[in-house]
Symmetry: C2
Subunit: 160 residues, 2 copies
């Protein structure tokens, strides 16, 4: 069956026909739900919430980005992210500054204490990440990540 | 490199070394974030929220399950799900009943109006789902879903 034909026929299939266990968004939700729950305890011990943790994770890789870029990378709504950053700044984990070229834009930098907080969370994230892939060989992992990258390119609204 | 060896070496890698774009949980979060946002308008038009929509989606496939099972399948916390079901029941979209064998357990059935609500949302879900997979051939999709199934089996707490 050609890809276009398959798309067409899938479009007329109902969820019950596809089956929950073959429906990628369902499986991804289940997996990310467990991943987030399994980190909750460690986050709470560090005084972090999911939005705070995601902001620190992104900043640990790409520091000094604009607030609106951080919202996209961290998948946190702008208003929620703003509140999380206010709290992180009050705790000395990030520093926010006005962008030099655009006075209305806010740039976010991770502070040493923020890097330390993320560094103590990372072993747990890494362990949960590895647990997902137990028994899944290197090539299969690589193919899986490659498919995810194509999917994100298909549906993202931003060029990054 | 053996799988065990790779796990070990990954465990000592930092997120910046793996790279956000190679880190499966990051990619999955970005993708599911867009998927959920893209459904928000259609859900709102039907008076649905994400927890309500997920409950109806699951019930459209597996009807008459226990509340605690529905919470696992729908990836919604029990307290949030309870509130969502109260609202769905008040709107006549589901019916809740006490389990015949366990008086403390609550069973949830989808009502005709609930099925209709989900049926009018499904074309949008299906369209968003297909958009994710544009340009991804049938075999690659199948392999991707297969990897997701293994990942869920690795990390789930329940036998379903």
């Amino acid at each position: 069956m050609s890809d276009a034909k398959e798309l067409e026929s899938n479009n007329s299939m109902r969820l019950g026909e596809i089956g929950l266990n073959n429906f990628a968004p369902y499986l991804m939700n289940r997996i990310m739900g467990r991943y987030n729950v399994s980190l909750r305890e460690e986050m709470a011990a560090l005084g972090l919430t999911t939005p705070k943790m995601r902001a620190l994770a992104v900043l640990s890789v790409i520091d000094g980005i604009l607030l609106r870029e951080l919202a996209v990378f961290a998948v946190v709504e702008l208003s929620t992210l703003s509140r999380a950053l206010d709290a992180l700044e009050a705790d000395g984990l990030v520093r926010c500054q006005t962008d030099t070229s655009d006075g209305r834009a806010r740039r976010v930098c991770i502070a040493d204490a923020g890097r330390e907080a993320f560094d103590s969370l990372w072993p747990h994230m890494s362990e949960n990440y590895e647990r997902m892939f137990v028994g899944i060989e290197r090539e299969e992992r690589r193919a899986f990540v490659g498919t995810l990258q194509k999917m994100l390119a298909n549906i993202r609204k931003h060029d990054f």
